[in-house]
Point group: C2
Chain length 479, copies 2
């Protein structure tokens, strides 16, 4: 079946590129590491944006827009931040035909510009909290790039908030982590583990970084979103001060959080199969497609009438449905195309189906095994239920994959074997030292993905050094 696609178990990495190319999601741009997001890929991003933007607004945030170009001097004010980001930056040295007096950085993230602006907006505690999000492009020079997962330019949203108290800021960080968990699990059908990062994986300039981590089908981890507690670090660097309730000047507590077009990479790696893309129905640009199968013009007219009737009924129920009436393609070519593009439900209708008032219905994730003859009567009304079942099935399948490949390990040997072998999420105790963490990375390339929130069974001894440990991180090789 899979012309043009290598199988997952043959070459997972090439399979990923094949899925993207065959589904026409994206392609490489002339500038190394940059990508062109094609209309079908962008429609998925638009669906993610709409879902997330609604959640961001429901939690009290508003959108705004801050500039792309950041003066070097401004970026340099937070020492740790600039140390982390400036090696990755694209630098503008000329503008309007002249050399600039001061180089400008293309934003790799916007803490510098946003915090320095918030400083001007806050004078009293009454001006807080400031709860703003922006949808934007950012640039980070990357050595190894991969479409969606790691590109030099990518699209994202970045929320930046400033609060009166530490408690409020921490609550915000966790609130947005929960929003990201819901986005991932309820929309992308991608189960995630939430927790805090170790120091070495913390955002440059932050006190703590929280993340959602998902398992891909090859049992590698994908960091799918982060929420940072910045403490008063950026407030001190950018002078975010306000008059507190007691009358004294205080530094604000700030947060930032973001998810990016990387989510689409996760979506692909989490659900797709050897036939191509598999999309969760809630995010699919077309949730269903009807392919009429005809030889004569009379058949064509009758079948299109029936197909358009079903489609009209379905659209009235909010279903995104397409009737594929292209004449220059054979039905087989159409099936193949929609399969590669991951359309959740395909319906075929031929002259004999029309006579028996039914269609052949195929759910993308079940394939031929799930083929059924569905009566046309009441068909449109059944679709939302089929989508909901498929959405849940994709989630369950991904969750089962994670459960089946999560292992509790208490020896470094055992850890090495798994993380240099078939891969898994490894739960193993850690003393907290960077030295032990670095040793694991050196010998397995795996990292601590998160230290999960749940406080269960964390007492033990460090898998590396044997010292007492109170943390039990998830270790894995990651994208």
């Amino acid at each position: 079946m899979a012309r043009g696609l290598v199988k997952r178990n043959e070459d997972y990495s090439r399979w990923y590129s094949d899925v993207i190319r065959e589904a026409e999601l994206a392609e490489h741009a002339p500038v190394k590491g940059c990508m062109i997001i094609r209309p079908y890929g962008f429609a998925i991003w638009e669906a993610i944006q709409r879902a997330l933007d609604d959640m961001i607004k429901e939690t009290g945030h508003v959108n705004a827009y801050f500039p792309l170009m950041i003066p070097e001097s401004l970026l340099k004010k937070e020492a740790e931040h600039v140390e982390g980001f400036s090696p990755e930056c694209a630098v503008i040295t000329h503008g309007g035909g002249r050399k600039l007096e001061e180089p400008l950085y293309v934003r790799p993230t916007s803490e510098a510009i946003i915090c320095s602006t918030y400083a001007k907006w806050m004078s009293s505690w009454r001006d807080l909290p400031i709860l703003i999000n922006q949808w934007a492009n950012v640039v980070r020079w990357e050595m190894r790039t991969r479409l969606f997962l790691r590109t030099t330019e990518f699209l994202w949203q970045e929320g930046h908030t400033a609060h009166e108290t530490e408690k409020e800021a921490v609550e915000e960080v966790l609130r947005m982590l929960e929003v990201y968990r819901r986005l991932s699990e309820e929309w992308l059908a991608m189960p995630v583990i939430t927790g805090v990062k170790s120091r070495s994986e913390t955002f440059a300039g932050a006190i703590n970084t929280y993340a959602i981590e998902a398992m891909m089908q090859d049992r590698r981890a994908l960091q799918a979103g982060t929420s940072h507690f910045l403490g008063q670090n950026f407030a001190r660097a950018y002078d975010m001060q306000f008059q507190g309730r007691g009358g004294a000047l205080e530094y604000a507590w700030s947060t930032s959080w973001g998810v990016s077009t990387r989510l689409i990479g996760g979506l692909i790696m989490c659900h797709s199969d050897d036939q191509g893309l598999v999309l969760p129905p809630k995010l699919a640009p077309h949730q269903a497609v009807i392919v009429p199968i005809y030889r004569t013009d009379d058949d064509r007219a009758a079948l299109l009438e029936a197909a358009n009737g079903i489609a009209a009924e379905a659209r009235a129920l909010g279903v995104r449905i397409k009737v594929d009436d292209r004449d220059h393609l054979k039905p087989g070519a159409k099936f193949f195309e929609w399969e590669k593009k991951g359309v959740p439900v395909r319906m075929e209708i031929g002259p004999r189906d029309l006579e028996s008032k039914q269609v052949v219905l195929v759910r993308r994730d079940l394939g031929k095994a799930g083929k059924e003859f569905a009566p046309m009567e009441g068909l449109a009304a059944r679709l939302p239920g089929i989508f909901a079942e498929m959405q849940q099935a994709l989630f369950d399948q991904a969750l089962a994959n994670r459960r089946d490949h999560t292992i509790d390990i208490d020896s470094f040997d055992g850890m090495r074997e798994v993380l240099n072998g078939d891969l898994a999420f490894v739960n193993a105790c850690w003393c907290g030292s960077e030295k032990c963490e670095a040793l694991v990375k050196k010998e397995t390339t795996a990292t601590i993905r998160v230290i999960p929130d749940s406080g269960e069974n964390n007492e033990g001894v460090c898998v590396v050094c044997g010292e007492a440990a109170t943390r039990k991180p998830v270790w894995a090789r990651a994208y």
Copy 2:
């Protein structure tokens, strides 16, 4: 009333800045010529985006995303295009800590990157038309900048299409011009004149540029949107070739069209008054606000209950309404704030109003003159009608301003007097020579805004040189 705002007739330019500052729409960024779009300003942009994005999709286009960074060599392929744009570009010379082998331009517009990509997507006439739009930021180095109207970085949409025939491409150019006319007139309540630009004002690399032009309150023109017929120029430069129906290779016909955050500048200059911003209800982030007026806690509770009741009813009808329950501000301060922010309808409700089951209702554009006591019974249901009336009134007022200040002139002396004096839109015949056009610009700073579509009364003699003329452009000083 207008604390903090200068009056329009005292200093129009400062008034414009005052309106933006007092309504918290935008402010200057640390990088010269760039702006921060504040949440209230961005909410207006989001409303414009939503309206326009719907129209763009209804006319058969899809969204995509192309990269920010364009290699110098790619930009240089269309000679006229690069000549027009490269002096305005921001140039990235360093990335990832190293000097780049080839400088990258931050996109000033995306014809180069998009046309070179389309070239790869078309092999047969069946692949056409390609109808794609993107929402993006662009950078053009500007000497004189003004918030929204002309900024170094701005947000816009840019549509790029490729067609099989010249006829289809021209139809597309005019279709999108009509979409822009509708956006401007039906959403921004800003009447526009449509037509073609003279050669000197044509987009670099285009055959023809069509535009919508609006008159501001100071009788200057604002180019609010453009739609370009690119002929086969970019197809030749970027190799957009396809196998035609006859079997031979043909060059595609292409178009591009865009509107930007400049529209918000137009919106402000078209409708606002000495009290601040005036917003057309269809684009207002808050269409109505209710301000309860209380002294005691008992009053507060009863009034908020009534206000929230009206608001809930209104929201059910799709009205964007806010109850201003802030305790630390006096009602007068609230009225003043919402007036400066241009909220279309303000409702005040005090204890005595509650007894008589009414509110005081003030329509922003009518001010005190339009103050009425409105019964609470059926109030919410009346609001959509009030918004529609106000929307129409703003359009009518702007149209009247344009009609009252549009003059037919047949002598160069008369033209000079008007265009160096009180300003107007001047209809005056033109022979078509760049020399005559340049002379008008030299002596008045006015330019040909558009040569309108309508073919009426265009026969005459050139207002400058007296030669025979078949065109009657609109001449004006412009932003």
